[in-house]
Symmetry: C2
Subunit: 581 residues, 2 copies
């Protein structure tokens, strides 16, 4: 019997041409994989994909080539391998003003799922190393197309170019690689390929068995992507599922299809070259008026669901798809607690960037900033609540005063609803910094808004105790840091958060914040005042969300994020006792 | 700041007397832990707890002491630490005929949960090694009380004494230890205690951060125990939750409380000695007429649920407790496929034991036995379907002909409903072996029944395509082994299974069975004909259930069974660049 092996050993019966290709990819990228494993263990800084959009690194023509590739998509059909229904759709509008005009095939879902189920066995039986090789090659090729992905990300999400390059390209690739390396280890450690089990029986012959163990994928995986980070939030689930043997359907947000389509195209090319069905990674786009996510999520063939988006739909998925393992990242109320500051200028600079970056459209952007109403001690003396609020507001407006900074840091608002939300929220508190339209020198129709900062009282829970997505923050006057902590505990406990920041010169306060973070299970950043920002999360080092509060039921990327995607199936048989002499 | 460490290092601020005790336990049992880790990796045979109920191993008075301890419980109140409501309850009836008359305190659930939530922090902050030490000591002391647990298990579950000793004592302890060792590794590997993250910035000073990571439990864990294996099926969830920092409530089945109560008592003693709140492990008993499982399972404080029992309630738990991680083991239809047999006598002997053991009340007992209607080739020539059926029936009746074998192997039926089910099922097919009452020399009122074996046709899906819990099996006549495989695939796909066995002299058929096992995600046993039986599952080597078919949504004990019980919370801060010289 040729038994496939659990940990990536290759079954003899599959050592054919296509397997050689997949294993050649594995060999090519083995050093990268090992470094990724080491980085995930040490949690030290590491990345194989440069975040610098430089021609010296990516090739002198990389920017022009990426731009040309992006331009060539506009107004045309984007072809992917699928089982098509014959229909096409596409409604992407750049937040910078123009319609992309790209049309995508609408698949025949039943036909596509049947095809993917048919392809599962070959992918499963290929083993962990072959699948890992294919995934590493996909990531490698995605990296080469980072400029193209940057333009696609910029003109769907509204991110400024530099951020679109980093978050849509190398940083997303990092998170995909992190998932691959975590999953590869999990498969390797799940069980040995073969075990000899010998149980002594006193004077009688021992009981002896040979046992084989195989990693088996759960089934078809559905990744429901979000509009603002169509690759960064998609790659962890996509690659964790794919490398563990599960075919993957990505359902992009109707407003941010192109970065997903490019990613799926690259995956399909590598799968084909390695002799697998390219539809092992497929895209099922939909339209806002005819959504398909619910139907897909409840399809009996769907065994894994990754979702980034609203709490409403995330909670629905968690409750209504019992046939699947469901991983969600939802809304939350990210929080800063300001108790005292040792280096005010640096902190103001740091927070101005945090509050401005991508106009607050990050799932990690601070919203609630708790400050004692009696003010705080700083290296510039005691400042009143109003003085602190004004310093932060001035920090933001000063930072955005340079048009080229404003354009690149703010980017544009992905969703028109965010504009409306800013306008509605203005009445929720005293305006400390008003949100205004920005002007983009290149794209006059860009949907730009600067941050809105509102001063409210601790009692105004209706204002701040829920997510207000976008460039909206609350400066909340509290009786004391103790009350700030209590309110943060209450709001995060009820609504969740992905980030918590604290500023204090007191170790006691920092310890209290640490306890708070453990209790509500949120990542804590203390006294950030340099070039790292509370909304940044680095692959291989920072766990993104914990899975332990209402903002997310899973973490990118911990052990259970990958190990829930496969099971181990054993096959045992008696080993006859040796013949007596 | 004193940060607790994720992997079991001990925070300095907790190095007090109680921590010394817990860490002393850890040191005492470290060698056992390391052997458990090695066994789980190699999947070779290993157990630190002897399965032989011998005075030479457990002490000459161990049996008498255990019996005396059991007798002393009868008719009395069993006291555990709790927040009591003042009420008592208890309705245990031995399947061997007598009422146990034991009364247990009914807790005030809200008061108990509040107390357990209060105790969580100290247990969390103790760290992985201290918690592991406590758990290892609990298991060590449970092992010493294996005879007492055997009598308690026998007179609640109905298991024969030898099986009650093994399954209720050392084998259950093995599974608890397996969970502890898996979880300890998962915590150690989750993240380092501290990481230094240094990101180069070209000619500028590097960005540098120090990051601390802490393992944080999900919350209060609920383990809903079953009547037939109150310790074996309870210890994995109990110990996996406890060692990862979660306080545990065990809700025993009203008919099998005593083995759980003894286990909780031992856990409470060790927790107290180590300076922790004994209510970190608590028991909440209920009665059949006033069940509490649903209320507990939907309590917002309950974040983990382990359940063994009916599919109906298991499915309800999976769908209606979105606040918790839910691990279920439910009903299934275990299956044998007989294609051809190389050693008929040995196979008949093996299957006679499998079908008789504990009167088929194991979640691993075969129910459906597919045999081609044209018969099979054996080492005794070609046998017709009827001949094979008769040989199996004769095997069972011959094996049970000796009264002392019948008494010890069959045991008694835990639930009167099983008697009714046998009577109802008699009409579902042609009776090949009828079920009769057994007589127990010591307990004349014991509820004993021998196996019922029915011949049916492949077309009689209504008979065999669902679980018929108890000593009921179907010999199913199929057109061919190919049809046997197809029917097994269909039934297991729809209803689930924990075990699949195949008998064939053809490697091709064994390969097909392997493919089938991978597709429906069930553990496969090939050609068992010696002293290992398809219904046996050995800790550290056999995965019990896969989590991949409807019989169970989780596996005892794989990586995700333990890693879903905690999250990692990080705490990062800037490290200032070194001062310039």
């Amino acid at each position: 019997m040729s038994l496939s092996t659990p940990g990536g050993g290759v079954p003899v019966s599959l050592e054919n041409g296509s397997m050689s290709k997949a294993l050649a990819f594995f060999e090519t990228h083995l050093s990268t994989l090992k470094q990724a494993v080491d980085a995930g263990r040490s949690r030290a800084f590491w990345s194989p994909y440069s975040e610098i959009p430089s021609g010296r690194i990516y090739g002198e023509t990389a920017n022009a080539d990426g731009r040309a590739a992006f331009d060539a998509y506009l107004g045309n059909r984007f072809a992917l391998e699928t089982e098509t229904s014959g229909d096409q759709l596409g409604e992407e509008l750049s937040p910078y003003g123009m319609a992309l005009g790209i049309r995508y095939d609408r698949p025949d879902i039943e036909a596509l799922i049947a095809r993917m189920q048919g392809a599962l066995k070959g992918w499963r039986d290929a083993g962990a190393d072959a699948r890992t090789g294919v995934c590493l090659e996909i990531l490698h090729r995605l990296n080469k197309r980072s400029f193209e992905l940057a333009y696609a990300t910029m003109h769907t999400t509204g991110q400024g170019f530099a951020m679109a390059f980093q978050a849509g390209g190398p940083h997303a690739q990092d998170r995909g690689l992190e998932a691959v390396s975590m999953a590869w280890q999990a498969m390797k450690n799940a069980a040995p390929a073969v075990a000899q089990w010998v149980k002594p029986q006193g004077k009688n012959p021992a009981l002896a068995m040979e046992k084989h163990y195989t990693v088996v994928p759960q089934g078809i995986s559905l990744v429901i992507a979000c509009a603002t980070f169509p690759t960064w939030n998609t790659y962890p689930g996509l690659f964790a599922s794919l490398v563990t043997g599960n075919p993957v359907i990505v359902k992009p947000h109707p407003g941010s299809v192109l970065p997903v389509a490019i990613s799926v195209q690259v995956a399909q090319q590598v799968l084909s070259e390695a002799g697998f069905d390219p539809c092992l990674v497929s895209m099922v786009p939909d339209s806002a008026s005819d959504p398909v996510a619910q139907v897909l999520a409840q399809h009996p063939a769907i065994k894994l669901i990754d979702f980034t988006g609203s709490s409403e739909f995330g909670n629905w998925l968690e409750r209504n798809c019992p046939q699947a393992q469901v991983f969600t990242e939802k809304a939350g109320v990210n929080t800063l607690i300001i108790d005292s500051i040792a280096n005010l200028k640096a902190v103001v600079r740091n927070l101005a960037f945090s509050l401005s970056l991508y106009s607050g459209q990050m799932c990690t952007t601070p919203q609630n900033i708790f400050i004692p109403r009696d003010g705080i001690d700083t290296d510039e003396g005691h400042l009143s609540f109003d003085q602190v609020a004004q310093r932060l507001a001035d920090g933001v407006s000063g930072f955005l005063a340079k048009p080229e900074v404003a354009v690149n840091v703010l980017g544009a608002l992905q969703n028109p609803a965010t504009v409306d939300r800013i306008d509605q929220c203005r009445a929720l508190g005293r305006v400390v910094l008003d949100s205004v339209s920005g002007e983009h020198p290149e794209f006059p129709d860009a949907r730009m808004r600067t941050p809105l900062m509102l001063a409210v009282d601790a009692a105004d829970r209706d204002s701040y105790a829920q997510e207000r997505f976008g460039p909206i923050s609350f400066l909340i006057a509290t009786d004391s840091t103790e009350q700030s902590m209590a309110l943060a505990r209450e709001v995060i406990g009820q609504r969740g958060a992905i980030t918590l920041g604290v500023y204090s010169t007191s170790e006691t306060v920092l310890e209290q914040a640490h306890e708070l973070a453990l209790d509500v299970k949120v990542a804590l950043s203390c006294n950030l005042s340099g070039g790292v920002f509370v909304n940044q999360s680095a692959a291989f080092s920072d766990f993104h969300a914990t899975g332990g509060n209402p903002a997310a039921n899973a973490c990118l990327t911990d052990s259970s994020f990958v190990s829930r995607r496969f099971v181990v199936v054993q096959n045992r048989r008696d080993v006859p006792p040796p013949a007596e002499e």
